[in-house]
C-alpha cells in the first residue's frame, strides 16, 4: 500500500510520467467522480498539473498499478 501522506506529484518525474500516460487516453473516456462529475483527459491533466487532491489520487492509482505490474512480471 502506498504512503497516503506522501505527495507523489512533488516528484517531477512522477508528474511527467502520469501526464504522459494520460495523454494516451481515448478522447471519449471520462473518469467518474464521487461528486457526480465525469472528468475528461484534459481535466485530469489539469488536476495533475495543479497537483491537487484529484491529481494526486490519480497519480496514486497509476503508480499502484505500475508497481503491481512489476510485482506480477518481475521475479524477486
Amino acid at each position: 500500500m502506498l504512503d497516503e501522506s506522501a505527495k507523489l506529484l512533488d516528484d517531477k518525474s512522477v508528474k511527467l510520467l502520469v501526464m504522459e500516460r494520460l495523454s494516451f487516453l481515448p478522447s471519449g473516456a471520462r473518469l467518474v467522480m464521487e461528486n457526480g462529475e465525469a472528468l475528461t483527459k484534459e481535466q485530469l491533466i489539469d488536476h495533475v498539473k495543479k497537483s491537487d487532491e484529484t491529481g494526486e489520487e490519480y497519480a496514486e492509482m497509476e503508480l499502484l498499478y505500475l508497481r503491481n505490474t512489476v510485482k506480477r512480471y518481475v521475479p524477486k
Partner: protein
Amino acid sequence: MKFLITRPEFDDATLYLSEFSKKIIDFAKGKGFQVLDCVHAKANKKQVSRWLSEKKPELVMFNGHASDEFITGHKYEPIIRLEDAGLIEDKIVYARACNCGKTLGKLFDNKKIGAFIGYERRFRFWINPSFTHSPQDDPCCAQVLDASNQIALALLKGVTAQEAHQRGITAYNKIIENLERSDAPQELRFILPSINWNATYQVCYGNQNACL
C-alpha cells in the same frame, strides 16, 4: 428470502450503477428472492429505513455515492450514516460505493452475524458519454461493473461473504490478465489502473462465513 437494493439514478455514475444492477435483480428474482428495489427517488432514507426494519432483508446492496460518514441515495440524500449501522449490522451488505468500507465497514469487524463488503477508497470506473443511453454497451465500464456484479451474484448463490469478496477480486484480476495479453485490444488498457485500484481497496469485514 429478501434482497434490498438501492439504485439512485440522478447522474452518470448512479445511472450506470443502476443499469448494471438490473442483471443482479433479474438473477435474484430467478432464484425466488423478494427484491426490495429502492430505485430512483425510492432510494431515500425513509423508504430504505422502513424496508430494512420492517421487511428485514437478509442481503443488502447499496449503489451510489458515499463518504467516510454515510452512503447516499437519490440526489445525495444520506440513507445510511454511521449511527444507522444498527439497521444493517446483522445483514450481509455489499456497498458499491466510495470510501464507506473504512468506517461503516469496520463497524462490522467484531460482529458475529453480519458482513460488509465494500471499498476503503474511491470505487473507480470510466465511462464514455456516448453510451449513456445504453450503459451496458459501454466498453469503458462493462468489464469492471460486471466484475463487481460477481460479488452480489455470488452472495445470491449462497457463498460466504469471504468467498464472494474473493470472487470479486478474482474477476478484477482476470480482466487485468486478459487486457495485458499482447493480443488484447490496446484501446481499453487505460482502464487497468482503475481495476487494479478497486481490487486493492475492496474489503470484507465482519463474519467471513456469513451466507444466505
